[in-house]
Amino acid sequence: MSTASVASHETAHDDHHDHEHHDNFVTKYIFTTDHKMIGKQFLVTGIFWALIGGFLSILFRLQLGFPDMSLEFLRPLLGGWLDEAGKLDPTFYLALVTMHGTIMVFFVLTAGLSGTFSNFLIPLQIGARDMASGFMNMLSYWFFFASGVVMFISLFIPTGPAGGGWVVYPPLSALEQAIPGSGLGMTLWLVAMTLFIASSLLGGINYITTVINLRTKGMSFSRLPLTIWAFFLTAVIGLLSFPVLVAAALLLIFDRSFGTSFYLSDIYINGEALPNTGGSPVLYQHLFWFLGHPEVYIVLLPALGITSEVIATNSRKPIFGYKAMIISMLGITILSFIVWAHHMFVSGMNPFLGSIFMFLTLIIAVPSAVKVFNYLTTLWRGNLIFTPAMLFSIGLVSFFISGGLTGIFLGNSAIDIQLHDTYFVVAHFHLVMGSASFFGLLAGVYHWFPKMFGRMMDEKLGYIHFWLTFVGVYMVFFPMHYIGIAGFPRRYYSWTNFEFANMYTDLNMFVSAAAIITFAAQFIFLFNFFYSMYRGRKATLNPWRSNTLEWTTPLHPGHGNWPGEIPTVYRWPYDYSKPGAEEDFIPQTVPLSATPESNLPHEQEQVKLEMEIMKEEEEVLVANESKH
């Protein structure tokens, strides 16, 4: 653990805080380069998309839970997508499923989660004035915004949005004859995703560069909060995997528009034999899941990072096994790239490949298990304060366990034969990736709201929101396990055609009702969020009595974050309830030499080094002063 780090940033921001920025509305709220505002832009846009994505799911849950119900009252919105009897069109049902998946995975849980908190927290927690490139950061948001606009437009075109499932497997997604959504809707989907990937890459490069280069003095990698570790590794995963999706999309564009045959072969459709031969739909699946699987961790790791921070703070205890947590995340990062084909056990690929991927997949369960045990041990003998953020973090751990364990079934290719593409899979990933990450997002919002807006969110509303959502999510997704074990295939408009699947109308009704209640409960959050932004109780500087650097900034930090010098870091971020210390937390900015009563033996040795460095620094400062 070296306390000495290069003090090169000293000169860089000398001229920074001398003059105040005078921002007008456009440079402050729209084309801003302040990472905090960009983070908020991502957050609000993410919330907007979460509402749309959630609403789409309510529409198809109505169809699944109440198949005989007339949706006539939605005609002003759905128009021609309802038949005379007021029933949803089966093609549009598929489009709804597709858009729900795309929106939630990419726009909400990637941009809304990673975009919000990586932007907001990285500079604040590592002690930097801003991101490495504020301009690229701004571009990142506006590419995302443009992508959203294109995707939003695709919802309203006459042939409907893309309808081939969020994985958009060709040939279905390549042939307009196969499903109307594969026409203009699919083109817009591809354009939107390309813009989205550009946004992700711009963001990711920035996050990585910032974490590597702009840490404040003393902020070594072994003193980084786990949030930053998580955002950093997330960005690395994104940077390596998203370009592969571009490749997949590009080949798909060629097949769709320029007559190539990367994915198409031997197709006879609508009374016509197509000229394409030699392509392979399985190739697309390999390329897609090479992103698609790491994407799961792009979504999940930031949520786990946030949870680590929130649980440690509110347990008033150091996170258990800080190093083990980092190693687990590193392990997950690396392994996430070599497990993709477990989505394809029955795709027709060589079964030998299936064996390999089964072994690799089950290895990734080990670091995940370690993380869970470490969370549990952190709670053990803590002094737990249940802020809404803490509740959501505990909820996340619960989902992570429930959804993670079912992954052990699905990662086993022999068991997966039966469960693949049934509701068991739907239950699995909605818990482990969807709900867990969503809870991470909410935990983050509740926890850092005071830093974002200088006000507190209402706790009681937070509690109500949590309990309704937590119970609601389980009521929605737990029953799906039974439905899946019974073999119900996913993406089915109705099950009445099949004898093996036509029971459980009652359970499906229950799930749909639970989904509607859970969705409605989110409006409590919305109210709390926007109301507290303007009328919430004023926050104190460090409301959760936390150790990390962001709480050393002013209540409303300006562009540049700290009005004076950037604080120096002297210790790791988890000195909670240290024996001997008076308070139950010691911020990272408190030197070891100031806390002799609580220093551990090995820290006592570092005090000497620390003193030396501080003395040297003072000399430098004095020398600088005399120069001026």
Binding site: A178, F386, I408, I415, I417, D584
Partner: protein, 338 residues
């Protein structure tokens, strides 16, 4: 009417939220609780975790036991018994982990809820513990993987030579069945030969195709290996026979296969389930378009003797539609007519 009701409901909900919100924030100001580190709500939340554990735990056990026969599909293939066994072993292992971790996760909040006079234990790491809970899951998972891998290797091994071949072809939105006829060899096909009268695109110049015949249902013998040769004509489909624990994608341009041994005839299954109308079904599990949810095909499992009899009675494509044989050499035609 609906619109009105919904509007009233939303209004009601909003006003309730508003009232609750105002009342509680006033109460908290009066109590001065916003200056405390942990308020009375801390205890309430701690208790709610325990209640949640008990409540959902009870629901889970109650429903899992009560509905067992409903969600546990009867199994009707040899390998299905093996994969079901793996499934339930995994269920037992993960179930134990699930219960233990959740009991801890929800009991800790109750037990260690905030008390002003207590300090949390400073416990940053313990390498021994970390190693134990890296190794134990590792070993358990290795066990699960190895048994899974052995089953997987058996299931995906090449079909026995005497397997009865059935071709299943997916298209929007139906399954078409072709049997190889007496020679047990399917004739060649070419998707460019597909037409209204030749849905399979069979190449009738291949003499193996002469005795191929279609069937509206999949008929297979009990206790003998059956090989499904699977392909698709337009987009991806996936053959899913839930009772056989069988699933394999149908891929245009890349034929796939799955072999298995059915263990119960349809009649036996009717008796077992007490449902006189029971049929084995095939469904599609790869999204394929508008009619994805309606690609149903019936499998009839019969005794081997009955199967032989049925097989011999079938009429080939060419017998049903001699025009298909136009332009085919005479000697091949003879083969077809025999």
């Amino acid at each position: 009417m609906y619109g009105f009701l919904i509007a009233v409901g939303v209004l009601l909900l909003l006003s309730i939220i508003w009232m609750v919100y105002r009342i509680q924030s006033l109460v908290s100001v009066v109590k001065g609780s916003n200056k405390k580190i942990a308020t009375g709500s801390n205890k309430v939340n701690a208790i709610l975790f325990v209640l949640f554990l008990l409540g959902t735990g009870f629901l889970m056990f109650w429903y899992s036991i009560k509905e067992f026969d409903n969600y546990e599909l009867p199994v009707a293939s040899e390998h299905g018994v093996v994969t079901d066994g793996l499934f339930w072993v995994t269920m037992a292992v993960t179930g134990v982990v699930f219960l233990i971790t959740h009991v801890l996760l929800f009991i800790f909040p109750y037990k260690y809820q905030y008390k002003e006079d207590r300090k949390a234990t400073f416990y940053p790491d313990n390498n021994k513990l970390e190693i134990i809970w890296t190794l134990v899951p590792g070993v358990v998972l290795a066990g699960l993987v190895i048994t899974g891998w052995m089953a997987w290797s058996d299931i995906t091994a090449p079909a026995p030579e005497n397997a009865h071949v059935v071709e299943i072809m997916g298209s929007q939105f139906q399954w078409d069945i072709r049997y190889p006829g007496k020679d047990n060899v399917l004739g060649d096909y070419d998707y460019r030969l597909t037409s209204a009268t030749n849905a399979h695109g069979v190449d009738f110049t291949d003499k193996n195709a002469m005795d191929d015949f279609p069937s509206p249902v999949v008929v297979i013998p009990k206790g003998e290996p059956v090989l499904f040769k699977i392909r698709a004509r337009d987009v991806l489909h996936s053959v899913f026979a839930p009772h056989m624990r069988l699933k394999m994608d149908a891929v245009p341009g890349m034929p796939t296969r799955f072999w298995f041994v059915p263990t119960k005839t349809t009649a036996e299954m009717r008796e077992e389930t007490g449902n006189p109308e029971f049929e084995y079904e095939i469904a599609c599990t790869e999204i394929c378009g508008r009619g994805h949810f309606s690609m149903r095909k019936i499998i009839q499992v019969v005794e081997p003797e009955e199967y032989q009899k049925w097989f011999a009675e079938q009429r080939s494509f060419i017998q049903m539609n001699p025009s298909l044989a136009e332009g085919i050499p005479a000697e091949a035609k003879e083969l077809a007519e025999n």
